[in-house]
C-alpha cells in the first residue's frame, strides 16, 4: 500500500516538475526577442512571403522578339499565334537580328524567334519548314516558356497544314496517317505544373524544422550564457531530472508548433489555393512524430552551441542544402549515395516527402508508411540522444 502511494506521489511530482519546466521554457520563448523572431514571426510571415513570390505559378507572357525574314502571310500568322499563347508576348515583330540581340542585352526580351526566308516557300512545296528559337538560359523557366510557346504553335499550325496535305487522300487513310496511335499525357498530381504548388510544401516543412532548431538553440544558448539552470529538486538524483526537462521542453514546443503547423500547413495553403488533399486528422497524425523528431533533434544539437548567435551561423545556410538533399527539386534517384545517407540524418527529408505525398497526392498514412515509420524511429533515436546530451550538460554544471 505504501509503495503504491509512492508511485502516485512520484508521478504527481513528475507532472509538477514537467509543468514547471514547461512554464519556464514558455516564459523564455515569449521574453527572448531572438526566440520570438524564429518561433513566431518567421513561421507567420514566411508562408505569406513565399507564396507571394511564387504565386504566379508559371511564367506567363514572357517577352520575346521575332526576326521575320520570310515576311509572308504564313509567317505573320505564326507570329500572331505565338503572341496569343499564354506563354509568350511578342514585343517586336519585325526586328533584324542585331536589334533582337540588343533587346536581349537590354533585358527587354528573353528569347528570339527567327523565321527563315524560305519558310512559306517550303510549306507551299510540301516540305518540312524550320523555325529557329534562341532562348536565354539564365532561368530555366524562361527557357521552358519559350519552348512551350513556340513548339505548341508550330504543332497547331502544322496540324492544319497536315490535314490539307492529306486531304488529297481518302478520309480513312488521312486520319490514320496523322495519328494511327493516339497519345495522352496525364498529370497525376500538381497538374498545372505550378511552381508554388511544387516548392511550397517543402519550404514550409523546412521552415518548421529550421525555426525549431534556431529557436531551441537560441533559448539554450541564452540560458547557458546567463548561467541559468532549472531549479529542480530531483535534478541531481541520477537521471530523473533529465527526462523531466526533456518532457517539459517538448510539451512547450509541441504546443507552440501545433498551432503554427495548423496555420502554416492547413490555413495558409487554403488562403492561397495551393493543393490541399489532406484532412486534419491525417495531418495531425503525421505532424506528431515530425514535430517530436525535430524538437529532440533541435535539443540535441543545441548542446553543441556555446554561444547563441553561433547557432545561426551554423544552421541558416544549411536550410538550402537540406532543401536540395530532400529530393524535392533534384530527384532523389539522382542524388549521390553519400548525400542520400546524410539526408537520412535530418527529419526534414522524410517530413518533406511524406507531407508532399499527403498534401499534393492525397496519400494516406498507410501508403506513406516508409516515411511515417522513419519519423517515429527518428523521434526515438533523437530522444535518447537528447537525454544523453542533456544529462551530460547537467552533470557538468553540477
Amino acid at each position: 500500500m505504501e509503495k503504491k502511494l509512492n508511485i502516485v506521489e512520484e508521478f504527481k511530482q513528475f507532472m509538477v516538475d514537467v509543468m514547471y519546466i514547461f512554464k519556464e521554457e514558455l516564459k523564455l520563448c515569449i521574453h527572448d526577442q531572438g526566440v520570438l523572431i524564429f518561433c513566431f514571426v518567421v513561421p507567420l510571415i514566411y508562408p505569406l512571403l513565399y507564396t507571394y513570390i511564387y504565386n504566379n505559378e508559371v511564367v506567363h507572357e514572357m517577352p520575346c522578339v521575332v526576326v521575320n525574314n520570310s515576311k509572308s502571310s504564313l509567317s505573320r500568322e505564326y507570329i500572331r499565334m505565338i503572341d496569343a499563347t499564354p506563354d509568350l508576348k511578342v514585343i517586336s515583330r519585325d526586328a533584324n537580328i542585331d536589334e533582337a540581340r540588343k533587346k536581349m542585352m537590354e533585358h527587354k526580351a528573353w528569347g528570339i524567334v527567327l523565321i527563315p526566308k524560305d519558310f512559306s516557300k517550303k510549306i507551299n512545296r510540301g516540305e518540312q519548314a524550320f523555325i529557329s528559337v534562341y532562348s536565354d538560359m539564365s532561368c530555366m523557366l524562361n527557357y521552358k516558356a519559350m519552348k512551350l510557346g513556340s513548339l505548341n504553335t508550330a504543332l497547331a499550325m502544322g496540324n492544319r497544314i497536315k490535314i490539307k496535305r492529306f486531304n488529297k487522300w481518302d478520309q480513312a487513310s488521312s486520319e490514320l496517317a496523322i495519328s494511327p496511335i493516339k497519345t495522352k499525357g496525364v498529370a497525376l498530381f500538381n497538374g498545372s505544373k505550378g511552381f508554388a504548388s511544387f516548392v511550397m510544401p517543402a519550404v514550409l516543412m523546412l521552415v518548421i524544422q529550421q525555426t525549431l532548431i534556431l529557436g531551441i538553440g537560441l533559448a539554450a544558448g541564452s540560458r547557458r550564457e546567463k548561467k541559468k539552470v532549472f531549479k529542480l529538486k530531483t535534478l541531481n538524483k541520477r537521471n530523473k531530472g533529465t527526462i523531466r526537462i526533456l518532457f517539459g521542453k517538448a510539451v512547450c514546443y509541441l504546443l507552440i508548433y501545433s498551432i503554427i503547423s495548423l496555420y502554416i500547413l492547413y490555413i495558409a495553403p487554403r488562403l492561397f489555393n495551393l493543393n490541399q488533399l489532406t484532412d486534419i486528422p491525417t495531418l495531425f497524425m503525421f505532424m506528431l512524430p515530425y514535430l517530436l523528431a525535430c524538437i529532440f533533434f533541435a535539443i540535441t544539437v543545441s548542446i553543441v552551441v556555446h554561444h547563441r548567435e553561433t547557432v545561426m551561423l551554423i544552421f541558416v545556410f544549411a536550410s538550402i542544402l537540406l532543401l536540395f538533399i530532400s529530393g524535392i527539386s533534384w530527384p532523389t534517384s539522382s542524388i549521390p549515395v553519400f548525400w542520400r545517407w546524410v539526408a537520412k540524418l535530418f527529419p526534414s527529408t522524410q517530413g518533406i516527402n511524406g507531407f508532399v505525398a499527403i498534401q499534393n497526392m492525397g496519400a494516406d498514412l498507410h501508403i506513406i508508411k516508409k516515411y511515417y515509420q522513419s519519423l517515429w524511429i527518428m523521434t526515438g533515436i533523437y530522444f535518447v540522444a537528447a537525454c544523453l546530451t542533456t544529462r551530460y550538460m547537467n552533470r557538468r554544471k553540477s
Partner: protein
C-alpha cells in the same frame, strides 16, 4: 571622430589584431572556409551529371506482345527514364507514385497490337507526378517522345508503302519543326544554373553573417572600445582594417570557386575570367557593405544576425534564380533591388553566361557599388555604439 589622424600603421595594427581573432575562434574558420567549401563540394557533386538520369518509372503493359515489349525496351533506353517495375493496374502504379517509388508510368492498353493493325487507333498514355517538377518533366519528355515515335513508326511504314521518301514523310508528319538553341547552355544543364547562381547566393549569406558577427560580437564582448581606440578613433580605418583579412579570404573563396567552375568543370565563362574576378570583388564588397549597414542600424548582435539570415535566405528566392523576377508580382520586382544578390545574379548571367558587353551590366555594377558604400551612412551611429554601447541581453 572625423578629426582622427590615423595612418597606415594603425590600419596594420587593426588588421593584425583581427588576424589573431580569426585564428583563435573556430567559428570564423567554420564560416569563412569550412562552410563555403562544404557548399561548393555539395552542389558540384550533387548535380555533376547536369540532368537527372535514369529516373525510376513504371510500366503497365496490358497487351504484352513482341510489339509492346519492344516499345518498353526502347523507352528504357532513353536517357532520363528507367523502368524499374511492372504493375498490373493503374491503381497499383498510382500508389507506387504516392509511395515515392516511381515518378510516373507508361500505360499500354489491352489489344494494343491488334488495334493498331486493324486501324482502330488505340491510345498510349503516360502519367507523371509533377509534385516533383524536375523529375516529372524529365520523364514526361521521354514518355511523350516514345509514344509519338511509336505512332510515327506506323505512319512511316504506311507512307513508305505508298512510295514516299523520307523528306516527303517529314513534311507530311511535321510541317513545321522547331530548331531550339539554348544560348551558351546547349545541354540545358541544371548544373550550370545551380552552381553559378545558388552557390554565390549561399556564399553571400555566409559573408553577411560573418561580417555582422565580427562587428557586433565586439560590442557584445565589450571589446569594441579597444578596437576603436587602436584605430585612433577613425571608423574608416577601424572597419577597413578589421574587415580586410576577411575580404581577402572571401575573394580567394569566390575566385577559387569561379576558377573551378569555368576551368575545371568547363562551365561557360563568355566574358572572360577577369570580368568575373572583378564581379567577385564587387560581390564581396557589397556583402560587407550591407552587413556593416545592418550592424549599424540593428540594436544587438542577435537582431543583426537574424536580419541578415532572413535577408540572405529570402534573396535566394526573390533574386529570381528559379522563378524569374519579371514573372513575379510588380512590387516584388522593386523590392528585389534591395537584395545585393539580385544585382550579382544579373551581372553573372549577363557576363559569364551570355558574354554581353560590360556596358549592359552597368546597372548591376552600380547596384553592387551602392551596397558597398552603404556603411558611409552609419559611420557615426556605429562609432557611438562601439565606443560606449552596452550589450543588450
Amino acid at each position: 571622430m572625423m578629426k582622427s589622424k590615423a595612418n597606415f600603421s594603425d590600419f596594420l595594427n587593426v588588421t593584425k589584431r583581427e588576424c589573431n581573432r580569426l585564428v583563435r575562434q573556430p567559428v570564423y574558420i567554420y564560416t569563412l572556409i569550412g562552410a563555403p567549401l562544404l557548399v561548393a563540394i555539395f552542389f558540384i557533386t550533387l548535380v555533376h551529371s547536369g540532368l537527372p538520369q535514369n529516373l525510376p518509372i513504371g510500366l503497365i503493359d496490358m497487351d504484352n506482345t513482341p510489339t509492346t515489349r519492344s516499345i518498353a525496351r526502347n523507352l528504357n533506353a532513353f536517357e532520363h527514364s528507367e523502368i524499374i517495375a511492372n504493375y498490373p493496374s493503374i491503381l497499383e502504379a498510382r500508389e507506387a507514385v504516392q509511395r515515392g517509388e516511381i515518378y510516373g508510368f507508361f500505360y499500354i492498353p489491352t489489344n494494343f497490337t491488334k488495334d493498331v493493325s486493324a486501324m482502330r487507333r488505340p491510345t498510349l498514355s503516360y502519367y507523371t507526378n509533377d509534385s516533383y517538377i524536375l523529375a516529372g518533366s524529365g520523364i514526361f519528355v521521354d514518355m511523350k517522345t516514345m509514344a509519338t515515335l511509336a505512332s510515327a513508326k506506323v505512319v512511316r511504314s504506311t507512307l513508305m508503302a505508298r512510295g514516299l521518301d523520307d523528306q516527303q514523310i517529314a513534311g507530311l508528319l511535321q510541317p513545321i519543326s522547331i530548331d531550339a538553341h539554348q544560348i551558351n547552355n546547349p545541354w540545358a544543364s541544371y548544373a550550370i544554373y545551380l552552381c553559378s547562381d545558388f552557390v554565390p547566393g549561399i556564399f553571400m549569406l555566409l559573408f553577411l553573417l560573418i561580417t555582422v558577427y565580427t562587428i557586433l560580437n565586439e560590442v557584445k564582448m565589450k571589446t569594441s572600445r579597444e578596437w576603436v581606440l587602436l584605430s585612433k578613433q577613425s571608423m574608416i580605418v577601424a572597419l577597413s582594417g578589421k574587415l580586410f583579412p576577411q575580404f581577402l579570404i572571401e575573394c580567394i573563396i569566390v575566385w577559387g570557386y569561379d576558377y573551378t567552375m569555368y576551368f575545371i568543370l568547363g562551365f561557360p565563362c563568355a566574358s572572360g575570367f577577369g570580368v568575373m574576378m572583378f564581379g567577385g570583388v564587387l560581390m564581396v564588397l557589397a556583402s560587407q557593405g550591407f552587413a556593416i549597414f545592418i550592424s549599424g542600424i540593428m540594436p544587438s548582435l542577435r537582431m543583426g544576425i537574424s536580419t541578415v539570415s532572413l535577408w540572405g535566405i529570402i534573396s535566394l528566392s526573390i533574386g529570381g534564380i528559379s522563378f524569374p523576377l519579371p514573372a513575379m508580382a510588380p512590387p516584388l520586382q522593386y523590392l528585389a533591388q534591395l537584395f545585393p544578390l539580385r544585382h550579382y545574379i544579373v551581372f553573372s548571367n549577363d557576363q559569364a553566361l551570355n558574354g554581353y558587353d560590360l556596358k549592359y551590366s552597368i546597372w548591376s555594377i552600380v547596384g553592387l557599388c551602392v551596397f558597398a558604400l552603404l556603411p558611409l551612412l552609419v559611420l557615426r551611429v556605429l562609432y557611438k555604439r562601439l565606443v560606449k554601447a552596452k550589450y543588450i541581453p
